[in-house]
Symmetry: D2
Subunit: 288 residues, 4 copies
């Protein structure tokens, strides 16, 4: 876009709801009539479910907060859609949950540090002490919360308290090797993105690289998804794969997989932060 | 889409022209106001050149020919756009030009035979006799037009005559190993799609696999593009690549490249036939 | 290799058996001592199972049949290996089994016709009449054997008779939409390669593209494997994948998947014909 | 490999030289006769140039230093090969050269920190101050050496002095945006790996993403290569690519390219550190 456009306030809206004729015309006509300048507009229809999806980004002529308020009336009222409406300068706080594998953790840290991800890391929660020092080097508060079968519900309660208290709008499980309870997911109050180290739905569950090695597949993958009560069954956001051969040991799979995990998790988090993802019926629409 | 929608006449329009505010609203509003049902709409803006591009597909309420006429008035008149407007049942004739390498030729033949490509092969033009028998097995007329430096302009004139006479709307060079003159390209009267066996702009010109082997690249590619007066310089439609290693001889590169050439050429031809490609300023917008 | 080498008889051997020190030295030393010229040698060790694998290709100094006989003595006798030993000119007969989807069938036909696959198609077996005419156009005998629950064992017996009678050394299921019985697989007397239209082990069983659509994956795949008594569970030979998005309908998945199926099946068949595959413990070693 | 094998000293040798019969037999026979246990052996022949290449890794029965000395006599003396012979525990010092783009720099830092790359970063050399603080956070000495046309030869002399003084065996240009002189390359005394942000040989020189955008390619890439006197012309070690569309602005290309640059540079450095790369005649053999 023009340098001029970059400087101006932009509004991003994600809509979805029952499909019907004329929605595109109504939305674009409304913005145009109020002097707005549409920068991007992308829509999708699920023709089996008759659901309409749209992501639209524009520069309003008037005050952006007033425009957002009025647009919400249009979207939710007249059009009967669910709407997420944000300024493009949206920069939420996130919480990172990690265990001992550090590659995804480092990667998110690094990308935040370089400005690749538009968010602030409010704190780190871990069931190990291992990554405290690197966290603190980057000036990020580190909560060590070891967890056992007996303490699980208590620790999860503490985790929720921390997440809510710091105002996080997203939790990123950067290889956090504990299964979150259905109750945690339901009540944490914000989306949770998880990275699974296989090409889901293949090799769900534990030790996917070992499973892949045993089965003798020729390609392995990684999957970022929103965590739901059903382990490894949430809506898939991003996936990537890499070729392997009989020469690759389990250790090689783990090494090659680390690259995938980093890229796939970062890509999913970036799309989420840029308000590009609509999750529905256990699937996602990811506007690019 | 619904079974109902499939049966109905659909109109596809490709527009491009000077960008300005309100085009999306005007186009979608126009169709909606006339009772049309928009199935797909996708737009793009070249923000450096201030050009607007759109592909839109809809089921008109009224007579489709009348709607196409009126939409052209809107697009070309009021909006000042260049417009390609077709029924989705568009099924043009094409001419295949080939030499001795048969893989792309066979591939296009096979895809037409299976209905993957919505077109009819009007005839084959070749500077060799080699593929006559397979052409005729498939019931396709075969023109053998050998070519030499001295006869080039004369043979090209004959080729143009054949292409025009059969009413072809697209020429596909399926590894036709002759350079078409600038005059031929300018006057043949329809687009020409070529497949180049490298990842352009790398290894333009002759023997790209040998060039790639010499340079020691780790990935090779293929490129489908519209032919222009400048050899290997036309707007790129599709590209794909495959990994190679030091183990691969030039023959291996040729073998691996054949797969790419087939897929890339077929993909470019399909996008063209489905009215998905807008070429401008030596680039393409390919709506997917 | 040199033009000279191409003209000479070459021997290809695949060995596997219990790993122990000195095998590489013994094999290469044996060939060298007898004046052979090793063109390729590649080995692999399964370090968990302590199995040694080797593919070795050489030009013998003496009579190739005598060398093959003596090498077998070395491999099976002294080294205690299982051995497959062939001339590089090996060109077996194969049988194609098909139903109604023609893309893989056409593809194998085409590649055989162009010399990409070093084999002869002895005949086609199908449970439909649909592809008779194209088979016969290519001069290939077509056996129409419709199959029902009641006639299954009887039809399979007839299929086996045909396969044995024509001397086929490989059966290729080019989207043959019937489940072969465990008994058929056990007694057909030659390997059977199948193409499954998903990235196994994801979406085994029926309608994998529909399953993939439902699950909302972002990548789909195809898998070629040796058929075993356990449906979709045999040793995987080759896999490939392609990206999809929310825009892709089930029909788009089917179309994109067709490309994969063609490439993956052809690649598996080519590796098999070139004596590059060792199957063991439900996995494969594919020497490239 | 077995846990036992991991603990033992291993020797890795890279050989290349004039091809002749019996080399594989001689090398493997020599190791076997001395009680060595070969873990990996991979060879390659350039059949056009008649050059033999081998990478072999084994556990010697006796003292590893004595075995290395004797093996060098065999390789260089009897076989007339050039030989690189190292313990698998080889862990060299490297120097990172950077300018202002930090993604490759951070990435190498992070991988060293996690043990993915078996080396120590002796120091950082930069023509900007920008990355001093992050370097020093990681405890790495930072040399700020601004450079101008007038001071170039003087600064390069200082750079060479630093590189030699710290005993570095590899220089990694992690997006160092200065052209090193031919003299520097010739006299720095160790290999230099550079990352170029295009799919070489396409878009050599400055601003490759802008060039790629202008040309309208559908795929972009990155290339890691050994730096030579000819800019962007050195032996290619690793390449990777990613798809782009008309939707991608130059900024998107830069963002997508960053991922490639990180992965490709890290992969090249890893292969170098693991003694997997043989460079010859401006190409590389990379044993995997």
């Amino acid at each position: 876009m023009d340098a001029n456009d970059t400087a101006k306030k932009r509004i991003v809206a994600l809509l979805h709801g029952p499909d019907r004729a004329g929605i595109v015309a109504r939305v674009s006509g409304w913005i145009y009539a109020r002097g707005g300048n549409i920068l991007h507009a992308d829509q999708h229809r699920d023709k089996q479910q008759h659901i309409f999806f749209q992501r639209i980004e524009w520069i309003p002529a008037g005050d952006e907060n007033e425009e957002m308020r009025l647009f919400r009336e249009l979207a939710e009222g007249e059009l009967g859609m669910e709407a997420t409406i944000r300024l493009s300068s949206y920069r939420p706080k996130i919480v990172l949950m990690v265990s001992q594998f550090e590659h995804c953790f480092y990667d998110i840290l690094m990308r935040c540090g370089m400005g690749e991800l538009q968010c602030d890391i409010a704190c780190v929660i871990s069931n190990h002490e291992k990554l405290r020092s690197i966290s603190e080097t980057f000036g990020i508060k580190y909560h060590y919360l070891p967890i056992s079968k007996d303490t699980k519900s208590q620790v999860e309660a503490e985790e929720k308290r921390i997440i809510k208290e710091c105002g996080a709008e997203l939790v990123v499980m950067a290889r956090y090797m504990q299964i979150l309870s259905a109750d945690f997911i339901d009540t944490v109050g914000c989306p949770v993105i998880n990275i699974h180290h296989s090409f889901l739905p293949a090799f769900a569950g534990a030790k996917p690289y070992h499973q892949a090695y045993e089965r003798g597949v020729k390609i392995i993958g990684a999957t970022a998804h929103y965590a739901t009560a059903d382990l490894d069954e949430g809506p898939i956001i991003a996936q990537d794969v890499v070729r392997i051969t009989h020469r690759d040991s389990v250790d090689d799979l783990i090494r090659k997989g680390r690259e995938l995990e980093r890229i796939v998790l970062a890509s999913a988090v970036r799309c989420h932060l840029e308000t590009r993802i609509l999750a529905y019926r256990n699937k996602t629409v990811v506007f690019d």
